[in-house]
Symmetry: C2
Subunit: 324 residues, 2 copies
């Protein structure tokens, strides 16, 4: 039993739990919908949801809560003490001390909380797409852009545990407003939200005539999914917009390569469904965007191996590493 860790990934829509062996094998899984209950204390409902999937897995497998270690990945800025200090995609848990809430529910259970993209980075580095590489950035393209950084084989945590907030790197100082309060953050371009914005901009500018016709001439109605779907079907005007998104993705990757000299960029998250087109576009633009490109070994931009499971897998890996 000491060889099994539970990894729980609390996302904006679902809570996924995996029972994971030391070699990354998944023995069991469980999922529930993420509760968004505003009238209870911050994080209360999220902690209940985590306990629910953990209890289901332990009872089903006849494990004691005393014997398992639990890692929890959360979407936001996680402090080293387990407080979710800033979580725009899980507002009802923002500010909550999740580690304390879980210890209250089960004092005998050993648990740690970490940012979800940091967890994903650990999973892809240990068992996945970035195995064998010491300097890696995990880039999760969802509504926003999350990140986890491996440097010299170790997760970069930073002073308070907040490292990896790569989506809020400003790449266009005069660009559009970001919900974080800034302007021109990378995630305004290279994310699901960014594709939606760039798609509408292209539609309004007359660069997506076929798609606009499908909405009876209403350019504002064109969505990001319309563009990624039409691009997958080979529509040139949609491919041009995907190429633009790929350019912005490459620009941020080039910045991270200059700062960190990471050689491998693993792309995950919901938008990575469009990765068959997006990643080659980014790879194509990258060499001309990174400083001293010709003096560097090639940079790899590759898809996540574990997809939506990477966060929970990495949370389990971190629990094993830090709690046993």
């Amino acid at each position: 039993m000491s060889r099994i860790a539970l990894g729980v990934d609390v996302g904006g829509t679902k809570v996924l739990a995996l029972a994971v062996g030391e070699d990354g094998t998944v023995f069991d899984s469980e999922r529930v919908e993420t509760p968004h209950v505003a009238e209870r204390p911050a994080g209360d409902a999220a902690a209940d949801a985590v306990m629910s999937v953990v209890t289901t897995l332990t009872q089903r497998n006849h494990w004691s809560l005393r014997d398992v270690v639990v890692g929890v990945g959360l979407p936001g800025m996680m402090s080293r003490e387990g407080v979710l200090v800033f979580a725009p995609n899980l507002p009802t848990a923002s500010g909550a001390d999740l580690a304390a809430a879980l210890r209250e529910r089960s004092p005998e259970m050993r648990v740690l909380c970490e940012n979800d993209a940091d967890c994903a980075a650990v999973a892809e580095h240990r068992w996945g797409a970035a195995r064998g590489h010491d300097d890696v950035v995990m880039v999760t393209l969802g509504t926003g852009v999350g990140g986890g950084i491996i440097s010299g084989g170790e997760l970069v945590r930073g002073r308070s545990g907040f490292a990896g907030e790569i989506g809020h790197m400003v790449v266009d100082a005069h660009g559009p407003r970001c919900p974080c309060g800034g302007r021109g953050c990378w995630e305004r371009y290279a994310s699901g939200g960014g594709v939606a914005r760039l798609a509408r901009e292209a539609a309004v500018a007359g660069r997506l005539p076929t798609l606009v016709r499908q909405y009876a001439g209403d350019a504002d109605a064109v969505r990001g999914e319309d563009v990624t779907r039409a691009a997958a079907e080979g529509l040139p005007e949609a491919l041009a917009v995907v190429d633009e998104v790929g350019w912005w993705l490459a620009l941020g990757i080039a910045n991270l390569a200059a700062i960190l000299d990471c050689g491998v960029f693993v792309i995950g998250g919901g938008l990575s469904e469009a990765s068959a087109l997006l990643l080659p576009a980014a790879q194509r633009h990258l060499s001309s965007l990174v400083e001293g490109g010709s003096a560097r070994p090639p940079l790899l931009v590759i898809p996540s191996k574990f997809g939506e499971r990477s966060g929970a897998l990495g949370a389990a890996a971190l629990a094993t590493q830090r709690l046993t």
Copy 2:
């Protein structure tokens, strides 16, 4: 004798060597002008200059080359193997295998080469302004912007040794061209070159009328030094331009804080002479620029303790650490 290391900093204008004890005490120093001799093989003249200062120091102190360790800081992308692969400010040494050239000149001498800003980061972290902090970025503001990153108490080197090229982080995708081939790199704004550019822009736009009058109405003649000097004397129009440079400095620092969650930013380099005005301006703008600013402990922007000596000091520290 085993307690003394020699640190050599090869800059664009001078080569500075220090004899440094294990606690950072400087026992002796020597400097020569940096040779820029294009007709000899790349790096040949630079290697001779390093050997010259090293020989002077060892002979003057009756040390044997066999007994000293030597660290050399160089201005450019240094590979882990000691090759200066890309050095815009020392073009006659660009591409040279400096480590090999030095071993040829003195096979018994133990030597390592590292990027100069990385060296400076190590010195400020171990003995200087950032002592006691584990997550630190050294920012050197010269003609361009150099950087060295300490994460979890360790120098971030990256896959090939190129980490810390923070000046070529793009902060304004549609901004001015950079000699690196990119557009809108941070160093186009927050550096000596950046001040010169922003000063000329302000002069041409009519925002520096007093300084333009001093050049008989020739706005293009206004230099960065004119602005920093006039700002130090309290001229409001010049202070406004320094504030603008401070805003750009803060923007890049905010990006690095989001990515790395470093709490301390040490500012060095030639432009840091203007730091009495520039650093408070950056500090003032910073909290509104960094994501989740209110959830973070304060970020410190502080001047280098060792100034122009930080590179040589850090080179000595690294030599002690890696070679003994």
